[in-house]
């Protein structure tokens, strides 16, 4: 098999009695080639199970048709980005595959500054998809500097121009909060990720909008922040319980934090959802298996992946910068 005799377009050319160029053009469906010649060449290619040599084509076209999915080096423990990243990778992969692009997965050390160089200037990839949350801005800067095409999962910085896909965080915050209001809750808390993250600010804005529309006061006492880790969720919850014992609901920026927060609530002798209702964010697989099963905001992750792939390719081909946000929905389970 691997010793097959027809491996290159030259082989096909010989069989068809034409030149290499003709075979190349025929296989690429060039209008320069006559229909019957095309048909004959294609038949031969199919018959001999011909596959074009990728490195040769890439060298010749000076395009790799490969994009890098950039993620941080893994730690011992799962982080949200990991679980989330896995799901989104599926979407990206299928989006890329349908356009005949390959997906290289690279794990970068947060302190490494020339990884982009190493992949882009070697012609190994044509562009990057950035998921990594740590040092994202540093990486963005590096990519802009070397002029490498990329797209990121997240909100763009105000003055910079690059492609992005992000969740509709405003609506997410609003949906979660409206649900809690609809449940008749009066003192609804907010536990965010880091306050400097634009995503978090948008979710907070959604929370505030919903409260405002319902005629409820926005009380700074009820607002706390963590860093997306589970322990930070538990800690923030404890602070809330202390500051505002009358709290009867809370919207938390990640499922991981929410699950830890629920433990903290129980430790404090309160029940979920009877005493305190909680809504999480992301709808990771663990949300369904938590105790009680978590009501949460689901992002359409496969769609996000598909868009990341498509829009990056679009950008590669046309230079068009897109910034889109994907829809979110409320998934009601037992915790609220």
């Amino acid at each position: 098999m691997s010793s097959k005799s027809v491996r290159t377009i030259a082989d096909i050319a010989r069989l068809a009695g034409v030149s290499k160029s003709t075979v190349s053009r025929a296989l690429n469906d060039s209008p320069l080639i006559g229909e019957e010649t095309k048909a004959k060449i294609r038949a031969l290619a199919r018959e001999h199970n011909f596959q074009i040599n990728a490195p040769a084509r890439r060298l010749s076209m000076r395009k790799s048709r490969t994009i890098a999915f950039v993620t941080h080096a893994y730690h011992k423990e799962f982080s949200v980005a990991d679980l989330f990243g896995l799901e989104i990778m599926g979407g990206i992969s299928s989006g890329l595959a349908s356009r005949e692009y390959d997906m290289l997965v690279i794990h970068v050390d947060p302190n490494d500054t020339k990884w982009a160089h190493q992949y882009f200037d070697t012609g190994r990839v044509d562009g990057f998809i950035l998921m990594t949350s740590t040092r994202k801005q540093t990486h963005v800067k590096a990519l802009l500097e070397i002029g490498a095409p990329f797209i990121i999962w997240g909100v763009p910085q105000p003055k910079q121009k690059y492609c992005t896909v992000c969740g509709d965080n405003l609506t997410g915050g609003r949906l979660a909060t409206e649900h809690l209001i609809g449940l008749g809750r009066q003192r609804i808390g907010f536990i965010g990720g880091p306050s400097y993250e634009v995503e978090v600010q948008h979710r907070l804005a959604g929370y505030e909008d919903a409260l405002h529309d319902a005629g409820q006061e926005i009380d700074q006492i009820l607002i706390e922040y963590g860093d997306f880790s589970n322990t930070s969720g538990a800690d923030a919850m404890k602070r809330l319980l202390k500051k505002a014992p009358e709290i009867d609901a809370v919207f938390i920026n990640s499922d991981l934090m929410a699950i830890a927060a629920m433990d903290a609530i129980r430790e404090a002798g309160r029940r979920v959802p009877e005493d305190i209702a909680v809504v999480g964010y992301d709808d990771l697989s663990i949300a369904e298996h938590s105790n009680p099963p978590l009501t949460t905001i689901r992002q359409n992750i496969p769609l996000a992946g598909k868009l990341l792939a498509q829009n990056l390719i679009e950008y590669l081909q046309t230079g068009m910068v897109t910034n889109v946000s994907i829809p979110v929905e409320l998934v009601i389970r037992k915790s609220a």
Copy 2:
């Protein structure tokens, strides 16, 4: 930046006043080149931030230095393989990176039969790492047929020769069971994955060995199988509770199944671990967050990944077939 003037070895050659061949050899540390020439060329390369062109080198060497991580197309819901696969990918990626190999991630349709052809005969990858559980045997057959190098996560079929890495399932089963015996449990059940899977058979053997060594009877009544999904875990547990109400412990082949089984136990009005102790398998991240936190068998996944990478590369270079198993350990939490 991308308009840099020195992009090829020919550029370097001009600057150094030598020929392309000399530059190529110098950068590859060939003994044919004099030390000072080497030094000069390297200095130039460093100074101009030279990166060698990958497609060109790949074409020339007829090696891609890229391997494919093969996984199935993703479904809506997580499967064990997914979570597990994510962790192992980290290990593989770092193992490959340290040997300067790239990792392509490809999602194959279980019914697609020529994906291997498409990646191997095009020179896009030099070999494959197979994780996907569905139709693994079919894929193995396909790869053997086209003579493509690969390594799989799992146990090799008796008469076939190919590289594998797998967990030490025998010890895993034994550790789990011994722990339950040590707790003083008398009626210890076993819930396996599909009985035709060699991994499952080994875990069962470990379970039986432990019981035997402790002088306990092996009772077929206490043995049930599922398919690794959570619902199948709950169902199997219900059957056990019905058949053998006196059961006081159970070793379950996956964390996902175990978590669902614990729900089933509670539904039946029994407590975990007081009435029935449970030990899972895999130590997925959810194990830590389950209710109660799950005692389970942890596989050294990063190591597994590293070995998959290293042994495949070894095989590519020397043709040496390796079959190794990685250690497992018991992680004690609250469920047993």
